[in-house]
């Protein structure tokens, strides 16, 4: 991790408008991202955790310009993505890659693995013929897959095998920044360990920067330098990994997450923070602090005033009224 900034977001928001039949509905828009300000430093791993549906994948897609923000900016190496023309964006695309959550839907079922790996190389490089094949074999090897995997088709792989190939494809163009959207949730823990080691190794070798999305807090704590905790489209806590490990997390949602980690040895389990089960809806976020209907520490002010993201200590930010009480 360095202190040079690679990516910055400024008040980044993304809304989706639900339909009622064919027509846009009068019901509220889904606020997948709301006013997100994040800084990602070169060569760091920024971990992202949060409720399912809180906007993690949307954040990754907007950062890579795969989806347009509703408002706000993404600044990559000092350039505002929204100000770039088609060609500049195409060049930038090489620098930024994504590994999707669902490995099955990220490959074209009609293409062999070789063709899927070759495609970005054909579009963006001069590699052809034997050199192209060699690069594809090298990529397969880098993720621990046998070379004969290249002649097989997506449906012939298990979820985990396919995820390795997805990582291989993301590496093909030697990118600077990779969004890893739950890259190991389809893998068994031993393959997961190999992939995590591989990702760390590649990060050192190629000076990569990662946005690492995961629901597995032990993975997040292990791999990340800093961790952003999201709830209903907002970052509610930003904390360094060492502080999180030392139990410094302040936000009640972060603490609830930590307490719900399923443990192999249940006697090691932290005390469970009980929460009402009703999941929130991004189309109608609660007033004030959006966590208040589920928060065991909610106070009167929480339903009325939205807590701002405030600095607690160096590298540690949290959005919760408890900070002041």
């Amino acid at each position: 991790m360095s202190d040079q900034i690679l990516i910055e977001t400024r008040r980044l928001s993304k809304y989706f408008h639900p339909r009622q039949g064919l027509f846009p509905s009068k019901r509220g828009a889904v606020r997948a991202l709301e006013d997100v300000n994040l800084t990602i430093y070169r060569q760091e791993t920024l971990g992202v955790v949060g409720e399912s549906g809180c906007g993690k994948t949307t954040l990754g897609r907007v950062l890579l310009n795969l989806a347009r923000p509703t408002s706000g900016q993404v600044i990559f190496e000092g350039q505002d993505l929204s100000a770039l023309d088609h060609n500049a964006l195409r060049r930038l695309r090489r620098e930024m890659q994504i590994v999707f959550q669902n490995p099955y839907s990220s490959f074209d079922p009609r293409f062999s693995m070789f063709r899927s790996l070759a495609e970005p190389l054909l579009t963006h490089t001069d590699l052809r013929g034997e050199a192209l094949e060699q690069r594809a074999r090298e990529l397969a090897r880098q993720v621990g897959m046998p070379e004969d995997a290249l002649s097989r088709y997506p449906h012939e792989f298990s979820g985990g095998q396919l995820q390795r190939m997805a990582i291989a494809r993301a590496l093909a163009l030697n990118p600077k920044f990779i969004v890893l959207d739950e890259p190991t949730s389809a893998l068994d823990v031993s393959v997961q360990a190999q992939i995590l080691n591989l990702l760390r190794n590649l990060q050192r070798r190629f000076k990569l920067t990662y946005l690492f999305i995961s629901h597995d807090l032990s993975v997040i704590q292990y791999i990340s330098d800093r961790i952003a905790v999201m709830y209903l489209g907002k970052v509610v806590e930003l904390i360094t990994a060492p502080s999180l490990v030392e139990g410094q997390a302040q936000h009640p949602y972060t603490r609830a997450l930590l307490s719900a980690i399923p443990e192999v040895h249940p006697e090691e389990k932290r005390e469970r923070i009980a929460m009402p089960s009703k999941a929130p809806d991004a189309a109608r976020p609660p007033s004030g602090c959006s966590f208040h209907p589920r928060c065991p520490f909610a106070m009167d002010i929480c339903a009325q005033v939205e807590p701002p993201l405030e600095q607690i200590s160096a590298g540690h930010w949290s959005a919760c009224h408890l900070i002041h009480s």
Binding site: R19, S52, E156, G160, A186, L187, S190, P262, A279
Partner: protein, 328 residues
């Protein structure tokens, strides 16, 4: 007690351009009535394929070559297709690992879930609608009304997963096969879903075959667990036994590979070598090319499942280290 599901010496192969893929190689396990049985193991070791075989929905180039699958005493491998249709969805429901295989992209979530409910209960429109909303709420989905009108691609991964769980519950089946049902969910929601499954087991006696890579989930929900490697079960027994006093070198490797904060900055332990490609059957013990404790006997002689500790038949392991002849 008699088993609800018995899988015995199951073999499944696929014919592919690259050659024959030996996906399941003699898998044996059972699920008792009202039990939650966990199945863990290497990516690609045949867990999902075994489930497809149980429901007899293997793709065209896949074939069951040996074994028996008894459901409630009936051999599903011998059953006619019409009998299987009555079993699928009604007696055995499945939550697939890949949401896109069970969610149709061109229909709204609501129409899909309501079709299942009507198919199984023949209830009126109004009752069906009500039941659909209830189910979506049970799986902790926010704003069921919006979800009903949404198309699958408009939902996040975790939301799609919960829709599938709701659809499986809509059927009122006796056995639920859940292939990685909670991987896309945050731990607080995962917790709720698992609690819901445990509830259903307690109240309606649902039996569950739960496939997961998350050993913590196994520890917290499963009564027994089977560890699979290269299409076979290599260790099986009560969850606490297998996770605490694991015997098989592969199981030991799995537990050692769990990441933790203490290992930060260091490489994680992983099992060396590559995942077998399935294109040949490994002679002897399937784990021998990667096993840190491999012996000569392991190259040729396949170890059988046998008691892990003398006199204790519940916990079984397939490894020569524990067979009396080899251990002098």
């Amino acid at each position: 007690m008699t088993e609800l599901l018995t899988v015995e010496n199951l073999h499944v192969v696929f014919q592919t351009y690259a050659g024959t893929v030996y996906a399941v190689n003699g898998m044996t396990f059972d699920v008792q009535p009202g039990e939650i049985f966990g199945l863990v193991g290497e990516s690609g070791c045949g867990k999902s394929v075994a489930c497809l075989a149980i429901l007899r929905i293997l793709p065209g180039h896949g074939r069951i070559t040996a074994g028996r699958i008894l459901f409630d005493g009936r051999d599903l491998i011998q059953a006619r297709e019409s009998e299987m249709q009555a079993i699928r969805g009604r007696q055995i429901a499945m939550i697939f690992q890949d949401p896109s295989t069970s969610l149709n992209p061109v229909f709204t979530v609501g129409s899909q879930i309501k079709r299942i409910i009507r198919h199984h209960t023949r209830a009126s429109r109004k009752v069906t609608e009500q039941r659909a909303l209830e189910l979506l709420e049970e799986v902790a989905l926010p704003d069921p009304l919006r979800i009903m009108q949404a198309y699958p691609h408009e939902l996040s991964g975790g939301m799609q997963q919960r829709v599938m769980i709701a659809m499986a519950l809509a059927s009122g089946a006796r056995l639920l096969i859940a292939d990685e049902p909670t991987t896309a969910l945050d731990v607080t929601i995962q917790d709720q879903i698992l609690e819901l499954l445990v509830e259903l087991r307690r109240h309606v006696g649902l039996s569950i075959l739960l496939i997961t890579h998350n050993l913590g989930v196994v520890a917290e929900t499963c009564d027994r667990v089977g560890v699979a490697y290269a299409g076979q079960i290599v260790e099986i027994g009560p969850t606490s036994e297998v996770l605490r006093r694991m015997k098989h070198p592969y199981t030991q490797g799995l537990l050692a590979a769990l990441p933790s904060a203490q290992q930060k900055g260091k490489d994680l332990l992983s099992i060396s070598g590559n995942v077998p490609n399935g294109l040949s059957v490994i002679p002897g013990c399937p784990f021998h090319p990667r096993c840190p404790r491999v012996m000569e006997v392991c190259w040729q002689t396949p170890p059988r499942l046998a008691a892990a500790n003398p006199g204790e038949m519940q916990h079984q392991v397939a490894c020569h280290l524990y067979s009396p002849e080899v251990a002098q």
